[in-house]
Amino acid sequence: MGVRSSSSPYSPSSKEMYQKSNSSSSTLVGSFIKTLRTGSSKQQQQQNPGAQDGNIEAMRKSQTYLRRSTSHGHAVSGIHISPLRSSSTGKCSGKEKHHHGKSDKYFTDLDEDWSAVIEDYNSPIPVISNGGMELKPPVKVSSKAEGSQSPSSSTNYPTLPNLTRALSADLKSQYEKENERNVQELNSLMHRIAKFDAILNPSNSPQINLNDLRKLSWNGIPAIHRPQVWKLLIGYLPANTKRQHSLLQRKRLEYRDGVQLVFSKEHTRDIPTWHQIEIDIPRTNPQIPLYQFPLVQESLQRILYLWAIRHPASGYVQGINDLVTPFFQTFLTEYLPAAQKEDVCRLNPREYLTEAQLQDVEADSFWCLTKLLEQITDNYIHGQPGILKQVKNLGQLVKRIDSDLYDHFSHENVEFIQFAFRWMNCLLMREFQMDMVIRMWDTYLSETSLETSSSKADNVSISSSSNSTSHSTPLDSPRKVQSSTGLRANSAGSTLSRQTSLSEFHVFVCAAFLVKWSEKLISMDFQGIITFLQNPPTKAWKEADIELLLSEAFIWQSLYKDASSHWR
């Protein structure tokens, strides 16, 4: 399947929505991806709206959507993208300040009641029409100008004398449009928050439906729900709401006791481990003020040391210090008022947390890090076989989806391990700004297939794959469900879904990330390639970009998940 093609402009809308139909799938999806990839986000922001209302009608008529998955016998022929407002993430991009909330964040609703939101929408819905692959961009909300900054749309301004009037008129209409859109975005966000509320506070049962939560969270979690939802997704917090409080109490106490023991006189300090963590702590997220506070550094040091001591097979490995920070930062936001959640990166926790609360944040971070690392243990044990395997899989995958790029790398003697080792070791955290990482983790944590007994009880799981499917608890088997297709029937009707491991999905994300730059890379030599990939231009990435990446990864995974079983 080729990768480069000229194409019409498109919208970087986030989560794909497939229309189920009978025609053949893979070529269409492939060309969809091709089409998506050829645009750049900058271009996208300057596109004019062009979708017709007829498209909305068309969408309404399509009753069934194949969501997040294709499988044999279910083909994809049309892909509808609706620009619904996404979740919010904190402004945690180091020095960079995004025009948060006004930037182009689009969201695709994927649930049965999506049309309810569409009704509220006046703006055109971009539709990738069936077969024609014609992409209509949505109205993009350009970063809102602060003060009198000119609008970023590609208006051809008249000559100088008329400039002021034209500009002010243009600004006015722009401003009105933006206002309108902001209201819509806000409505959409409120609607999402309501959906999360409904799932998190089930009315007739104490049991939270984790599968529903996972599906909803894949597309991003509103900041106010994120701490709780992450804990649920990763299997720290039980789905039974009645048990949550007691479990938290118990686990937090357990952590406190663990820390006390490890730092008591009876315990002999593991000096090399302690030393390694000690030198890495000040080097963790050095560009984010939060991580410079001694209070925070001490917390992280305790978390990492205790984890290392309790996991001698792996021990502390550089990169794990990165992995704990999204948890820590997210759990801190639980104690910040909504208006200040975005400031978590620069506020000193001492100013808004009691000692006990900080201990709770620390304990929760420890347990969630533990849960996460259980899934990727092989990445950090001696020889790091998990990473080597992932790098190899990435190579094989790129060979299939972009053979030109693969051949070019071979010709230039570029080896995947030279750039992808870090991608695996740090889950791409070094490649993105923190707020984008956190958005990415909404999806990653939704990908963790922790089949708890409760979620199994709620759903009928039918393995439709010949691969082995394991439903053991994460504690028994940290690396399970490698490649399997689960057909899950839930109360809302038949929805296709799939279970995979986080590391497998991550390889597809890495592949999508790499082939995104294919056109550039193919014109570069060894030095250019390595230098580029060590420092990819992602600083200005917005949620829409991350969501597009995740969607592309999802599509690749849908197409190649069966092939992946042959890699092993």
Binding site: Q276, I279, D280, P282, R283, T284, N285, P286, G315, V317, Q318, G319, N321, Y380, H382, G383, Q384, E412, N413, E415, I417, Q418, F421, R422, N425, C426, R430, D525, F526, Q527, G528, I530, T531, Q534
Partner: protein
Amino acid sequence: MNTSVTSIKLVLLGEAAVGKSSIVLRFVSNDFSENKEPTIGAAFLTQRVNMGDHTIKFEIWDTAGQERFASLAPMYYRNAQAALVVYDITKPQSFIKARHWVKELHEQASKGIVIALVGNKLDLIEGGAERKVAREEAEKLATEEGLLFFETSAKTGDNVNEVFLGIGQKIPLKKPDEQSQGSSGLRINDDNRVDLAAGGPGSSNAGACNC
């Protein structure tokens, strides 16, 4: 511009946080940052140095220092013509690790590899910290093992360029294809590629200066 260009593949080895990446950053960008994120895997950078009518292009693999990543190191030093083995003069443990790296290089790397032993963080001593690795001790090791020896400060820039110049002087100026070629692993020193790079000054690492 038309002077002949020799390409030198160089690898940095040494314990975590001794300043490997900082030495490279100083050499390549003449910059320093107090808390650099730990290197994961390895980082690749290049820098050109003019020596008389000759230009040397350093192709540098800056490896991760933590023990867990050590299994990757052979991939990077196998075809290297030069190595910097770095330690922190205030951390005796890091000097022990440096000895190990020198031994491993002599056993595993190309025969003619030029090794420089580099004691970093000289600025700490000047700032009043206690030196824990005596200069004489390091010099002795360097003499015994046939190493170049430098004490540097990546923070102040002290002696950093000298390390690379020293290596440049010690490596015979041959055409890249005559230089030692390993049998496997990275083949960074692709003749064609080097010539291509030599033709385009813009192709070198961003921020690099020709010093």
